[in-house]
């Protein structure tokens, strides 16, 4: 595809030790930092989930006090969304986008460094109140649920302040990285790579970055109002002072619903690369998918109040939010058909990345279909705040983005390290994840339909069997992620077989024209795209 790549060993090598990582402006270094940080926080968030499932293993209160339980579910949500998934997708963007578009680096490398180093303190701020509580300060981390609803969040303890500061930092961090990504994509493409010839992952991230620039500032504004309500005597969300707690819900979900697509789109973009590689066919429906990204992006900012059907809303608004929400299923269905179209009549092999990619289609499909049930304003009155909802968003967020980033990790790990991971362990990881996940969350669909409310550490006896099943599934799911970590670490250490530059037989794209692992500086001379 591209003969004009120079594999020159560049003159300057990275500095050694801590300084390299603290001061780096290299897109691959920063990408790796994001990925490693995200994986670490994924394990932290997973550990919190394991504690929750241990408590829910049997009815009654066994190991956790209700206050601690509230803190665990809140942190599990915040950590997984903001400290695990978003950093990992940002890491993939940093590592891959310059390689995919033939740029030597990101457009604004120093900003890039800032973006990452603002993120780490934010995650620590979320968890720090645990330590402070041990020292007798405050009553532990934020306990309001990850949605931080007022009026509870106005009244609750010290942990909320830490979470607000974390949100402010996260906002700055993701704003810097999204701006950087947009500028890179617009200004740094190699000659001949027109917008509609960009790799589809780059397109998906462009849309993601636009969404982040638009909606994250609104959450930051809301968090600032909450801080002012708590400490500076304002009443944005306090009814007694003329404010309205429901206003917080609008601000939060104006950010929160696009956030779902911010998490989803990057992996929806990586998926066609993987499917086309292992089906040994070009991506089906490139244009249709790009237009779908735009449709999803635009629709996502006008449907937020479907998260608030039970907060009270006039009939007209309920109808509007119901139909507009259901309309999103059309561009998403286009994506599904394009993915299946890419597989259709391909010469398919089932390596680990492909397995996770197919798992993505199946699980995210179930998440999408149950989402249609919840989008129904009438049915939602019954299912909202039950475990049906919990199961639904785990099918969309684990089944989609997390399956997607694991697929991407296996797909690019040989490229990044120059060594092949252990395929057998990879396959075990996939099947155990798939089985564990479905046992965990399929049970929760049923227990939710039967009426078990979420966010409560205890439950009625009638739900005992399904909850025990769900917990057992969760333990399988949690333990199997250790295989993933083991596989990454051993591949990293370089004990496994070397791979070629192309890695996979069907792989396409500029990132597969550089050596494996790629040199520290790539594309110092622009590659030419025909």
């Amino acid at each position: 595809m591209n003969p004009a790549i120079a594999h020159d060993e560049h003159h300057d090598q990275p500095p050694r030790g801590l300084a390299r990582w603290l001061f780096t402006t290299n897109h691959k270094d920063i990408g790796l930092l994001y990925l490693i940080f995200g994986l670490t926080m994924f394990l932290v968030g997973g550990l919190l989930a394991m504690l929750i499932r241990v408590e829910l293993f049997e009815p009654g209160l066994q190991i956790l006090k209700p206050e601690l339980y509230n803190q665990l579910i809140t942190l599990h949500g915040l950590v997984m969304v903001f400290a695990a998934l978003m950093p990992v997708t940002t890491g993939l963007a940093n590592y891959l986008i310059p390689l995919m578009i033939g740029a030597p680096d990101m457009a604004l490398p120093r900003l890039n460094n800032w973006g990452f180093w603002l993120l780490t303190p934010a995650a620590l701020l979320l968890l720090a109140p645990f330590g402070l509580e041990l020292m007798g300060i405050g009553n532990g981390p934020i306990d309001t649920g990850w949605t931080i609803y007022a009026p509870l969040s106005v009244q609750s303890g010290l942990g909320v302040d830490f979470a607000i500061l974390a949100v402010l930092l996260l906002g700055a961090s993701s704003l810097l990285s999204s701006i950087n990504i947009i500028v890179t994509i617009f200004n740094m493409r190699t000659p001949g790579m027109r917008l509609m010839k960009m790799p589809i992952f780059v397109w998906s991230w462009l849309m993601t970055a636009f969404l982040l620039v638009a909606v994250f500032p609104v959450l930051v504004g809301g968090a600032a109002m909450l801080l002012a309500d708590r400490h500076f005597g304002t009443s944005f969300f306090s009814a007694a002072g003329g404010g309205d707690p429901v206003l917080w819900q609008h601000l939060f979900w104006f950010f929160g619903h696009p956030e779902v697509y911010i998490l989803l789109l990057p992996t929806a973009g990586i998926l066609p690369h993987i499917l086309s590689t292992f089906a040994r066919k070009p991506i089906y429906g490139y244009r249709a998918q790009v237009y779908s990204y735009w449709a999803i992006g635009v629709l996502s900012v006008i449907v937020w109040a479907h998260h608030m059907f039970t907060s009270g809303m006039p009939l007209g608004a309920q109808l509007y939010f119901m139909y507009s929400t259901m309309a999103i299923s059309i561009p998403v269905a286009v994506l599904f058909f394009c993915w299946i179209g890419t597989l259709w009549r391909g010469a398919i092999t089932f390596e680990t990345p492909m397995l996770f990619a197919i798992g993505y289609i199946v699980l995210f499909g179930l998440g999408g279909l149950t989402g249609l049930v919840l989008a129904d304003a009438v049915a939602d009155q019954q299912y909202h705040n039950t475990y049906f909802l919990v199961a639904h968003f785990h099918y969309t967020l684990f089944g989609g983005p997390i399956m997607g980033v694991i697929a991407a990790a296996y797909f690019y790990l040989p490229k990044i390290t120059g060594r092949m991971y252990n395929e057998r362990i990879g396959q075990w990881h996939f099947w155990l994840t798939m089985i564990g996940f479905n046992i965990t969350f399929m049970s929760q669909f049923f227990v939710g339909l039967a009426g078990m409310p979420r966010r409560v550490p205890d439950y009625a006896l009638q739900f005992a069997d399904l909850n025990m099943m769900s917990s057992l599934g969760a333990f399988i799911l949690g333990a199997s992620q250790l295989l993933f970590v083991y596989n990454i670490v051993t591949t990293w250490r370089g004990t496994r077989d070397k791979v070629t530059d192309r890695v996979w037989e069907g792989a396409q794209g500029l990132e597969f024209t550089v050596s494996s692992p790629p040199p520290y500086h790539t594309f110092t001379e622009q590659p030419v795209v025909a």
């Binding site: 947009i182 200004n187 740094m188 638009a214 500032p217 504004g221 007694a240 309205d244 104006f254």
Partner: protein, 180 residues
């Protein structure tokens, strides 16, 4: 496309400032939502918001519609942390649209300290909210009660004669909050 390095740096910076400006705009939009939301609620009666006081003169020239009866119901909720009793004097009144009505809520401070409270009102059904006109209401300001004191708090309103015909009952709900 990649132009020569100096030109590219300028273009990068320009686009960066543009994007920062856009995100600053959305930050502002978040705050603009506060008044927008209130105005929207008051215009549509969303959340049962009725808007501020009106004068009795707003009725001038509109005689009361004596051919029609509307039932107005009164309820109250005392929020946690407010040691007091707040109740309507009458649970239910039958009124003609256009008649100016005086109603009373009774408040009692059950604590040994001065109690400052604020009532927040909403109207159900929401469609009726914008036809419910308050001339004077204790909910317009904070109410201070001396320890152990009992007081009656006045409310003066009328129901606009334009109230849609299908509405027969309007429920006023007051939530009482402690104000420090």
């Amino acid at each position: 496309m990649q132009p020569p390095a100096p030109l590219r740096a300028t273009r990068n910076r320009r686009l960066m400032w543009l994007l920062l400006a856009i995100s600053a705009g959305f930050f502002g939009f978040g705050f603009a939502l506060v008044p927008l939301y209130n105005t929207f609620c008051e215009l549509t009666g969303l959340n049962g918001k009725t808007g501020g006081p009106v004068t009795a003169a707003a009725l001038s020239g509109r005689p009361a519609d004596t051919s029609r009866w509307v039932t107005v119901e009164f309820t109250s909720t005392v929020m946690p942390g407010l040691p007091g009793r707040f109740q309507p004097q009458y649970r239910r009144l039958r009124v003609h649209p256009g008649d100016i009505i005086n109603a009373v809520y009774l408040a009692q401070n059950l604590s040994g300290q001065v109690l400052n409270s604020q009532a927040v009102m909403s109207v159900t059904p929401e469609i009726a909210a914008r036809y419910f006109k308050k001339i004077d209401c204790f909910c317009f300001k904070h109410q201070a009660l001396a320890p152990g004191m009992t007081r009656s708090m006045p409310l003066s309103f009328f129901v606009s004669p334009e109230l849609p015909a299908e509405v027969h009952t309007i429920t006023l709900s007051y939530a009482f909050f402690r104000v420090s």
